[in-house]
Symmetry: C2
Subunit: 106 residues, 2 copies
């Protein structure tokens, strides 16, 4: 949990979700945990990394665009997206990326 | 500074740098600030986002692979990379990505 994700060799996909939160929790932490658990159950999900200071960054890794599309359309996730826009986030940006190369220091 | 980066329309590139730090500062914060300042001066640099809890995530955005290559080879940045491996980081992973699509909520 919350360490550098052990993804397979590229190419694979990343979804970079960058956000600024509203002040109050309003169930946010419970939702975030549930979404991570739910993402873990999706086919083609390969890992997640997240950190928050005033800015929050969550990067999830996926086998292909089809897996990302299915995750976006997951009904419970759709509800969280709606609540996100109305309650939890001041603003956010989502970027869908093809990871072309990677290297690491361990 | 440290808000959702205002990048132009895709396609463009992202470098996702995920790391776990060692315990002591040893000049880390000064270096991190300097590297952000220096990145800002590079041609083709389009923004940066970062957050750290136990895991640190920094995503920088670039016009093309050539800009990323030049930044990687910047002499002051190379020194920071060496010190990073010997002093500041327990481990890290770098992923070079093509940002294919993005959308936002403002």
């Amino acid at each position: 949990m919350n360490s550098v994700a052990g993804t397979p060799k590229p190419p694979y996909y990343a979804v970079i979700f960058t956000s600024e939160r509203t002040e109050k929790d309003n169930g946010y932490n419970g939702m975030a945990e549930r979404m991570e658990q739910l993402a873990n159950e999706q086919e083609g999900f390969w890992g997640i990394e997240s950190a928050r200071e005033n800015l929050g960054i969550t990067v999830s890794y996926w086998k292909d665009l089809e897996s990302i599309k299915k995750w976006k359309m997951n009904s419970e996730h759709i509800m969280a997206q709606h609540k996100g826009r109305s309650i939890w986030y001041k603003n956010y940006k989502v970027r869908i990326c093809l990871v072309d190369r990677d290297y690491e220091f361990i």
